[in-house]
């Protein structure tokens, strides 16, 4: 059975991009693929929306870019996390975890009532 696909929640794409870039320096196509891979293809990411997000993060100086050669031998723009970006990632991760925990708490309490 194929797992059901989820639309990405508002604002989470930035977090995912920061996360996948924390391990490696990647170009746009690779970022998209890495997100698909890590989510085991359960997240539905509109490929095009990746680029405005990347450019926005670059403008915020959370990631920086450099032109290089991809594994396919093509010229590509590689993004990598900056120091500010990694601080941001930690902050965003904490916020996300606390958010998930809060939601879970509510859901748990509803179950208990039933």
């Amino acid at each position: 059975m194929t797992p059901s696909k989820h639309e990405l929640m508002q604002g989470t794409l930035d977090l995912l991009i920061l996360k996948v870039l924390s391990a490696d320096s990647l170009h746009g196509w690779d970022v998209a693929k890495r997100i698909q891979l890590l989510s085991q293809e359960r997240l539905l990411v509109k490929q095009g929306s990746l680029y405005p997000a990347l450019h926005r993060l670059e403008q915020k100086a959370w990631i920086e870019a450099e032109w290089g050669i991809s594994s396919e031998g093509r010229k590509a723009k590689f993004y990598r996390l900056t120091k500010e970006g990694s601080l941001q990632l930690t902050a965003e991760t904490n916020r996300w975890e606390s958010f998930v925990a809060s939601i879970a708490m509510i859901l748990d309490s509803r179950e208990a009532q039933q």
């Binding site: 746009g28 196509w29 509109k46 095009g48 929306s49 405005p52 403008q59 920086e64 590509a76 900056t82």
Partner: protein, 897 residues
């Protein structure tokens, strides 16, 4: 910090290398699409299918590009540039209209900024000392005399205050309006100086541009021979400042060491001084009898935490202790309600000459009305512009432009005009300064260096911009909300919402006409007032009369009675003979002050042999004028009775005096004045003549005093350091003056002469009346011009909008005359309403100001009639131009549209 730097450099790169940034984005997207296509091909799709699937998955490529641009933060800038270009194109398309708007804005903003800058500099903040809020003028207030200002003090009073006020004030002394000879390279130059105690530096907080300021120790070490000069004088002395500091200046024949240079903008009192010398108080100046010699200004800085009111309270109490020390002054205290007092230095000028404050506030009021008219005018013009764009805006909105985007576009256009208008206002500010010079405003000593007040320009512009945006954008938005579909479908040809827009615009035009009517009525009243002032008998003839002020400094002429008789009096005679020897001179004499001058005001309270003052009665306060025989003849003042001074009035004969007619009218109703005596300073003087009343002080100084004339030949202590020679000339005054100056120079190579015609002195003296009148006439005409422009704009718009209707009417046989009548009836209505509302506003205003200008009837209907006769033709001319255009409509062309 580095993050900020990175952000800014990225933003700049996106903006200035946008084509490169864009091509980089394109290659990123291309690469992604290729990889995605490749993936699908590998999964078994045909290349075409794979490409289509990739594009589908990727999403709208242009949308992605736009979203990225937004992320770069440059889209808003690109749109702004686009809007700006569009606005500029529109502006160039209608150059007449554009020029009208920019001119209106330039005039309004420029005049307002000028007025605000002047009011700020001359009325609100005349002294820009450091911590000026804490600086006060300290002196005496005579609470019972009705003159509530803080007056000068005597040296014993200063010493008393200095001793008792240390806990709440730091007190200093200014001995101002002094002149001194500066000798340089064999040439003598007369300069204005102030003598001050060293505390004054600390109180004013002035800092030097070079060198330092004198301290008590330094004064002692140098025996008082130190001087601080201003930059202007320093530049005159030498090109290099370092060469000036430490050098020696020959002042009144003594060498002084220049120790510091202060900015030219620094000034202390009513004279523009260029040098400051230490005031050393000699022990004999502190003797008890000196306490009636009031000539010095006290200046102080309040101690931290002490308010002006608290300081005033403590000074009040101190006067009681002062009276304990000098009990003989109690009588004067009871009569005049004398007390020590202080006033904030920046309020002191307004207190002394409130007329100047009133004059400038009236200018400010006039410019505010102009600003209002300008705002109405510009708003009206923007309204017309915006309406002509309704269709375009509606189309843009229907293809997806947000309302916010449309507002931005309209705002950009309005802002462009305001930017250009603000630049033009700088030119008008400059013109304002020139006008100020022409009107002698810069002669006001504390006018100093006028600077453009950019904050007031910004606030005025913001106010006007707000008004323009509000009136031009709001109505458009309401139309866009309501009639969008109708507007697009109709092709914009019908005048949607025409009633509401005309009502608004008509209201603007009516208000403009009404306001300019009010302005013109006010200027008419002021002109009438000035005419009355100028018609008044001033008691002397100002035409062809010239004054030459020549100093007789103590260092050259000595300082005791013997020196006076040996040096000063013969010198005066020699100078007079030299002047009289000129062919163009009718008569010549001398005095110590030119009538109407605000300077050289010395007064004495006199007692009269036959008159007993009631307890508490105000003493007759007389202006003292020293003269030589022939003075009355020369200036054209009539002697009502008695005789002029003559050679027989000398130090060996009885002291004599000539008094003004108003003294006689008040005190000598039942007594023959000639032969009776008056007394002051323990001297008795016999009245030998009565002169007609003379306008001695400027019109802006309220003064109800009397004048006494004393002969130079009987007094050595009065005004011995200078003489003002007056001459009645015939022919070309300028040429004569040059001859006289030359003759005097050859008589005495060290002479310095300050020449002033009586006419000039009179113009300065009446400037407080002249100024508001000229300004109000100027602004009244400006207001009329602006409302004419407003009317023109509205009528042109109505004509343009009704072209089709008028064309049809003409096709059906309406004559041009009928068309003209139809259009003119519109403007006739507007003008009538404008004039009626103007009348409604002007009548209560004129009734309100009637008591202020007591010499004229401000509600005189002739003023109103003249103004109406003035406004009507301008209004008709403004509407006739566009109306006549309507009669030339090409019917065929028009109906094809």
């Amino acid at each position: 910090m580095t993050a900020w730097f990175k952000k800014i450099s990225l933003r700049l790169r996106s903006l200035f290398q946008s084509s490169q940034t864009r091509s980089e984005l394109d290659s990123e997207i291309d690469y992604h699409l290729e990889m995605l296509t490749q993936q699908h091909i590998e999964a078994g799709m045909s290349p075409d299918e794979a490409r289509s699937a990739a594009l589908r998955e990727f999403g709208h490529v242009d949308g992605v590009r736009e979203a990225c641009k937004e992320a770069w933060g440059i889209r808003i800038i690109e749109e702004f540039i686009m809007d700006l270009r569009d606005a500029a194109r529109q502006a160039l398309k209608h150059p007449g209209n554009t020029l009208a708007i920019i001119l209106t804005l330039g005039i309004c903003l420029g005049s307002n900024t000028t007025a605000l800058s002047f009011v700020d500099k001359l009325v609100s903040q005349p002294y820009d000392y450091q911590d000026a809020e804490k600086v006060v003028k300290v002196g005496k207030r005579l609470t019972k005399t009705g003159d509530n200002q803080v007056n000068v003090i005597s040296l014993p009073q200063y010493a008393f205050l200095k001793e008792h006020t240390a806990s709440f004030l730091e007190l200093g002394l200014i001995d101002d309006q002094r002149e001194i000879d500066l000798e340089r390279d064999g040439d003598t130059q007369r300069i204005n100086i102030d003598l001050i105690t060293p505390e004054v530096w600390d109180i004013t907080g002035v800092t030097t541009v070079s060198g330092h300021l004198f301290t008590p120790e330094e004064i002692k070490q140098n025996n008082g021979r130190v001087v601080v000069i201003n930059e202007k004088l320093a530049n005159q002395l030498s090109a290099t400042r370092s060469a000036v500091v430490g050098s020696s200046l020959q002042l009144d024949g003594e060498p002084y060491k220049v120790i510091g240079i202060v900015p030219t903008s620094f000034y202390l009192a009513y004279t523009k001084s260029s040098a400051w010398l230490p005031r050393i108080i000699e022990p004999q100046e502190l003797e008890s009898r000196e306490r009636h010699n009031h000539s010095w200004t006290g200046i102080a800085k309040l101690a931290p935490g002490v308010s002006v009111a608290q300081a005033e309270q403590r000074l009040n109490t101190l006067y009681q202790s002062y009276l304990d020390k000098y009990p003989q002054d109690r009588d004067e205290q009871e009569r005049n309600g004398t007390t020590f007092a202080c006033v904030k230095i920046n309020d002191s000028i307004n207190e002394t000459v409130p007329e100047i404050g009133i004059a400038f506030r009236s200018i400010q009021a006039a410019t505010l009305i102009i600003l209002l008219i300008g705002c109405l005018n510009v708003s009206g013009m923007f309204l017309v512009k915006a309406y002509s764009k309704v269709q375009e805006l509606a189309i843009r909105k229907s293809v997806g432009a947000t309302t916010f985007r449309l507002i931005r576009q309209l705002t950009t256009e309005v802002c462009l005009y305001f930017f250009l208008g603000s630049i033009l206002s700088l030119v008008f500010f400059r013109i304002g300064l020139w006008t100020a010079e022409l009107l002698y405003i810069t002669e006001i000593p504390w006018a100093g260096e006028m600077r453009m007040d950019f904050s007031s320009l910004a606030s005025t512009a913001a106010l006007a911009l707000g008004a323009a945006l509000l009136t031009s954008i709001l109505p458009i938005l309401s139309i866009l909300r309501r009639d969008l579909t109708k507007q697009t479908r109709s092709g914009g040809r019908t005048a949607t919402g025409s009633v509401s827009k005309h009502r608004l615009h008509s209201f603007f035009v009516i208000s403009q006409v009404a306001l300019s009517f009010v302005m013109l009525v006010l200027s008419g009243i002021l002109a009438h007032n000035l005419y009355q002032t100028l018609q008044k008998d001033i008691g002397f003839i100002k035409e062809q009369r010239v004054a030459f002020e020549v100093p007789q400094p103590n260092y050259r002429f000595g300082n005791d009675l013997e020196d006076y008789q040996k040096n000063v009096l013969p010198y005066q005679q020699r100078v007079l003979e030299a002047i009289r020897s000129q062919p163009g001179v009718v008569t010549a004499s001398a005095c110590n002050r030119v009538p109407t001058s605000p300077f050289h005001n010395s007064h004495n309270e006199i007692s009269m042999s036959h008159y007993e003052y009631q307890p508490g009665e105000k003493r007759a306060n007389c202006l003292r004028v020293a003269i030589l025989p022939g003075y009355f003849d020369t200036v054209g003042t009539r002697l009502r009775s008695g005789r002029d001074f003559a050679d027989i009035d000398t130090f060996d004969t009885d002291k004599v005096v000539i008094v003004s007619q108003n003294l006689i009218d008040r005190y000598y109703q039942n007594k023959e004045p000639l032969g009776s005596t008056i007394a002051f300073w323990g001297q008795t003087l016999r009245i030998v003549g009565v002169a007609e009343n003379v306008q001695d002080k400027p019109h802006f100084i309220t003064w109800d005093g009397y004048t006494i004339y004393l002969p130079y030949t009987q007094w050595d202590s009065l005004n011995r350091t200078y003489t003002t020679y007056v001459a009645h000339l015939r022919g070309d005054t300028q040429e004569q003056v040059a001859h006289i100056e030359q003759t005097l120079k050859s008589l005495d190579p060290n002479i310095t002469i300050k020449t002033e015609t009586f006419q000039e002195a009179f113009e300065v003296a009446t400037f407080a009346q002249r100024l508001p009148m000229l300004i109000s006439i100027f602004f009244g005409l400006l207001a009329l011009l602006l409302s004419g422009l407003g009317l023109y704009g509205l009528i042109s718009y109505i004509v343009a909008e009704r072209t089709k209707e008028l064309g049809i009417r003409m096709a059906f046989g309406a004559t041009p005359r009928q068309i003209l009548g139809k259009i003119l009836s519109n403007s006739g209505k507007l003008l009538t309403w404008g004039l009626l509302s103007g009348l409604g506003l002007a009548i209560p205003i004129t009734i309100a100001i009637n008591p202020v200008l007591d010499e004229i009837n401000t509600t005189n209907p002739i003023t109103f009639i003249v103004v109406v006769l003035f406004v009507l033709p301008i209004g008709i001319a403004a509407s006739l131009m566009p109306a006549s255009r309507a009669t030339r409509i090409d019917i065929a062309q028009n109906l094809r549209l």
